[in-house]
Amino acid sequence: MSESKKILVLGVGNILFTDEGIGVKVVTDLQKEFSFSPNVTLMDGGTLGTVLMGPIMECDMLIVVDAVLGDGEPGSVYRLTGEDLRRSLAFKDSMHQTDLLDTLVLCDLCDSRPDCVVVGVEPFDYETMCEHVSDTVKAQFPIMKERVLEEVIAAGGSYKTA
């Protein structure tokens, strides 16, 4: 683990659709509450696909925070890596046919695909237009943040309370 390994913490989702925006909100919270070592970047990726290729290709380790549909109860927190991600598909509502997973494939085509881990949470509601997350998911914010911080440390980053 070199100190210079570049880490990108990317929150993705649509903040107008209740729990859809959880990734963006967790990352925004982390930005407010902590200051990170220079090799760590936090970013609000919104719902974009190919436009995110720039920042993704510049990092060595990508930590994605997003709503994930697994088989768990709403509020379940997941950690997805390599093989889980390759098996996942968010095709139905994908961006440009390049949702985040396809975007990683495109980065691969450009010979600069970073290692990637997803910290996700099972949404309670991702269809209602509302700028606040549900109580079920809100209750999981502390553990989501904790998990993301663990990933940052594991990847060779550090942080302190702001």
């Binding site: 649509n14 190919t50 436009v51 968010a90 961006m95 440009h96 085509l109």
Partner: protein, 569 residues
């Protein structure tokens, strides 16, 4: 047109169809678009006879905006879409400025900077559309594996001013083969050329050149996106527009402007050396598509103002063309827009101007053919209109625009077709390239104007203003996807009503109260379908509109590995 040499294309081929299929074809969801769209068609003897364009995502932005501070509108509207975020920020900002009268006193630099960011958005969007969203409808990537790299390099060098080496193309083949062999999902999933397809006409060498530029375009679009961020502070969701101007004081330095120029120049070079020659190469093989996918009426709001509050000062002109009559371009009249809901999932059968717009959802069912879309049906003087690059280019061409006319004429003569060929799917795709090259050519002048202002000591980029108790206003934007308008009514300093009429609603909405089809529905009628199981012809026309159905959700689905297939019933 710089960067391309004339080359005569092969003779026109007819789309072969040996299957006189009759019956329904449903494409749901359409991939390589924004959001979620279902296209249902009836096919009779191999040709489309009826169409229903159905948008599956409800956007309730109007509801969520009521009662908020008008200045916040842009932050919500930006999030309604996942790609053209800036255009919504600009439309919302212009709407508020128009309501309170700031558009009359907007600083010159603010206008230029907004134009530069919008110009960069055009370049980025159109390059990504051509190579990454639309090319696979015309280019058989896998066929490129069979190409002779030496022949392909020779061909590439005959079309473009750049030098292409055989070994570069060989390297592309090696990379491509590894990808095809690994069976990775992503870009080749759902591609209709897999296993060969009669409706794909390019030879292996052409397919290889286009594929090489597909890969190069992936790298390049990153830079085009970064150019927007120089002034926009970030991308996605630029944060530099405010009511009264822009906030990017730090971007006025020599270094930052130079950074913008470098990114812009590199993007422009790719447009001249790859995009335009490739567009002409592909078009020369698919001239039968100059007779497929056309519509009748066109609406342009224009874009890139010289004077902020004067819609007639825009570099791309505003205008209305009815029944393909290029001799009579009319001025656009904002009072003539109405939105119908008889065939949409809303209560009632009203036909209202956006200022009076209501959003009262009432879903029926997925199978309903009477009410079948979350989109309203916008109409201009009761007619359905096509918006987007083709409307921009036709309006500019018909008005004798000095920058557009020569480029349009050079494309038409290169392909050996007349102006009537513009009214088609091929014309729509060509118009996007024409618009890209014209905008790219003129942007350097805007940068010079900005530099001159700054060096003469004019660094104003924002003005002060007061929010009135009551006001109404509209922001018209000629976005890369076409006519976008945001309409705001302010009462007690808060948003009382906010309506968005977005380009894809014009192009891809449902029928209206008079049962007239939308642009895409009209365009698809008569389309030949060679293979109802792989209806690439439908995708060609739908994708030519660069649909953006307001992104709704973006969750990662870890439960399934199923690629949705369209159904043939």
């Amino acid at each position: 047109m710089s960067g391309c040499k004339s080359k005569s294309g092969p003779a026109v081929m007819a789309t072969p169809f040996d299957k006189n299929y009759t019956g329904p074809v449903t494409v749901d969801p359409l991939t390589r678009i924004e959001g979620h769209l279902k296209i249902e068609v009836e096919v009779e003897n191999g040709k489309v006879s009826n169409v229903w364009s159905s948008a599956q995502l409800f956007r309730g932005l109007e509801i969520i905006l009521k009662g908020r501070d008008p200045r916040d509108a842009q932050h919500f509207t930006q999030r309604s879409c996942g790609v053209c975020t800036y255009v919504h920020a600009l439309a919302s900002t212009r709407a508020v400025e128009n309501a309170i009268g700031v558009d009359k006193v907007l600083p010159e630099n603010a206008k230029i900077i907004r134009n530069l960011v919008m110009g960069s958005q055009y370049l980025h969007d159109h390059i990504v559309h051509f190579y990454h969203l639309h090319a696979l409808d015309w280019v058989d990537v896998v066929s490129g594996l069979q190409a002779d790299p030496v022949k392909a390099a020779k061909l590439a060098n005959s079309m473009s001013s750049r030098v292409t080496k055989p070994e570069d193309l060989k390297a592309v083949q090696v990379k491509l083969k590894a990808f095809v062999d690994s069976g990775q999902l992503g870009i080749f999933t759902n591609a209709y050329f897999l296993g060969g397809h009669d409706a794909y006409y390019l030879k292996p060498e052409e397919n290889l050149i286009a594929t090489a530029h597909y890969l190069e375009g992936l790298h390049l679009q990153v830079k085009a996106a970064r150019a927007m961020a120089v002034f926009g502070a970030k991308n996605p969701h630029p944060q530099f527009t405010i009511v009264g101007g822009v906030t990017c004081y730090e971007s006025l330095s020599k270094e930052r402007i130079q950074e913008f120029k470098d990114l812009y120049n590199e993007t422009k070079k790719f447009v001249d050396e790859c995009y335009i020659p490739d567009l002409l190469m592909v078009a020369s093989y698919y001239k039968d598509w100059a007779g497929i996918g056309g519509t009748s009426n066109f609406l342009s709001f224009g874009e890139f103002p010289s004077v902020e509050n004067d819609i007639d000062s825009r570099f791309i002109p505003q205008g209305v063309i009815m029944n393909r009559d290029l001799k009579n371009v009319m001025n656009f009249d904002p009072a003539s827009i109405k939105e119908d809901i008889k065939h949409s999932w809303y209560k009632g059968e009203s036909s209202l101007h956006p200022y009076e717009g209501e959003t009262d959802p009432q879903y029926t069912s997925y199978e309903d053919r009477d009410r079948y879309s979350w989109m309203k049906a916008p109409r201009y003087k009761g007619e359905s209109m096509e918006v987007g690059p083709l409307a921009h280019v036709l309006t500019a061409y018909a008005r004798g625009h000095k920058d557009f006319v020569p480029v349009v004429n050079s494309v038409l003569s290169h392909l050996g077709v007349g102006a009537d060929a513009l009214f088609s799917t091929l014309g729509r795709t060509a118009a996007r390239g024409i618009e890209t090259t014209v905008v790219a050519n003129t942007m350097s002048e805007w940068v010079n104007n900005l530099e001159d202002n700054i060096s003469s000591g004019n660094t104003d980029i924002a003005v002060e203003w007061d929010m009135p108790d009551e006001a109404e206003g509209v922001g018209f934007v000629g976005a890369p996807r076409g006519a976008l308008s945001h309409w705001i009514k302010i009462k007690d300093k808060k948003i009382e009503n906010f309506q968005l009429v977005v380009p894809s609603t014009w192009n891809l909405g449902p029928r209206c109260n008079q049962n007239k089809m939308s642009a895409v529905e009209e365009a698809l009628v008569g389309t030949p379908i060679a293979d109802p199981k792989r209806p690439v012809e439908i995708l060609r026309t739908v994708h030519s509109y660069d649909p953006c159905i307001a992104c709704g959700v973006h969750v990662i689905d870890a439960r399934t590995n199923e690629v949705h297939k369209f159904k043939v019933m």
